[in-house]
């Protein structure tokens, strides 16, 4: 209890120091949630659920499983609110979500018979833009499909690092903290992953030009 009190005070102090106003709001919400306010935690969920779902969907490219992972991540975050030690709430939630996704990936590795069903399902496509051009849309769809398949074929350690770097814009140090590995390992995974991705996509490289 005393520990939680200390965390709360530290977090409150950090609210004032936070340069990013969004970050300040996050920390204030965490403080209230630590005090037992479920509504405050739910506001935190509303602020980050889209980002976390987008992140996890790229790691676990199955919509239902990604949703389960995100739900599990928020439950885990609520359970471990007391372990938040300041810093970026977004990074903290991302770390929890990435760990939950990695748990699923490890379980999938043990049971490789379960494929990612949505790789075979091309029914979902992003909504057409205002300047809808069928050829352009078809090309973009094909590019997304082959890229998603190539990403999924990467070892999940490499895939996670690339997604965090390219999609979420985390730097090497943040990825190292999120994944609990050294910066050198992060760099190595990203570089090797990029090279593997390029080799896999070499036959269809025209899709990515122009």
């Amino acid at each position: 209890m005393a520990d939680e009190r200390v965390v709360t005070d530290a977090q409150k102090a950090e609210v004032g120091r936070a340069a990013d106003p969004g970050q300040g709001i996050d920390i204030a919400l965490v403080s209230q949630a630590v005090g037992g306010e479920l509504a405050a935690f739910n506001r935190l969920v509303e602020r980050h659920q889209d980002h976390l779902f987008g992140l996890v969907y790229r790691l676990v490219p199955d919509r239902d499983q990604a949703a389960d992972v995100v739900q599990e991540a928020f439950l885990s975050a609520y359970r471990n609110l007391g372990s938040f030690r300041g810093g970026s709430v977004k990074s903290w939630l991302s770390r929890i979500a990435v760990n939950a996704a990695m748990d699923l990936q490890r379980a999938r590795k043990r049971r490789p018979s379960q494929p990612y069903p949505e790789f075979e399902d091309e029914s979902w496509q992003p909504p057409a833009p205002e300047d809808f051009e069928p050829e352009h849309t078809a090309l973009a769809g094909e590019r997304s499909r082959v890229l998603a398949a190539a990403l999924a074929a990467l070892p999940f350690d490499q895939r996670n690092c690339i997604v965090l770097f390219d999609v979420d814009g985390y730097d090497y140090g943040e990825i190292a903290r999120i994944m609990g590995i050294s910066i050198g390992t992060v760099k190595s995974r990203i570089h090797r992953g990029r090279l593997a991705l390029r080799r896999a996509l070499e036959p269809v490289r025209e899709l990515f030009r122009g």
């Binding site: 976390l52 790229r58 990515f208």
Partner: protein
Amino acid sequence: MQRPAATHSTHDELLLVRLYGGDVDERERSSALDQMASCEQCADLFADLGAISAATAALPVPPRPRDFTLTEADVAHLGRRHIGRGIFDWLGRTRALGGSMVAAGVIGVVLIGAISAFAPGGSGGGQGTLAVAGPANAAGTSDTQYGVPVPAADQTNPGRKSTGETATTLSGVPSTVPTSPADGTSPKVPSSTPGAQAIASGDTALGPETGGLAGAPGGVSIAAPTPGSGAAGRPAPEQDSRNVALLAFAGLAFLGVLLLALPRFAARRARR
């Protein structure tokens, strides 16, 4: 002025990837730039890295299928699940222990089985084995010893006649009565052999647990134990200890199987 493509195979592609990731020092940077300037394929590779990276960032994400806010019921369930998961997580870590226990149990059972099969008199389940607790008789007419099979012919013991008692064995089951000394006193009968005790004391009221006949006249006692009961069916002490060890090893293996099964159960619970 570009080099032929055949030389590209000798170029360090990883250096170009590191250049793209900003993970090179000044010397490596100039080396990579030289490599790109002199090799079209290296330049293509660098351009492809940029295109793939941009496409990765632009990968579409389907709309969020549901709202992830927590309800009071979720929180209440979370508390219960936390306790349950803690227990099952601990049990999950016992998987290695479970495997070891199964292996040890199976090896133990096999070893005990092998010992029972090859040890003298070990596999007979007590049949044909004398389980005599007392000392050999003074007359020295019997060679009854622990674990020594005795032929049926040896079961008629002359020493027994001097007591005026008749010991009859049925179904070839050997008598377990130690022969009496020549002075006609009753032999010292171990209390663990009730049928034999009854014979030695001339008791005619043999209960069903002795396998004898109650009310046999003339002081004639009939020790007729049924298989698996009574004095003659009782296994030798070492057989007893083997059975106990066998049960212990089987129990160990069973516990091991339980420990192996629990993590699966826990995982199924966690998925729910």
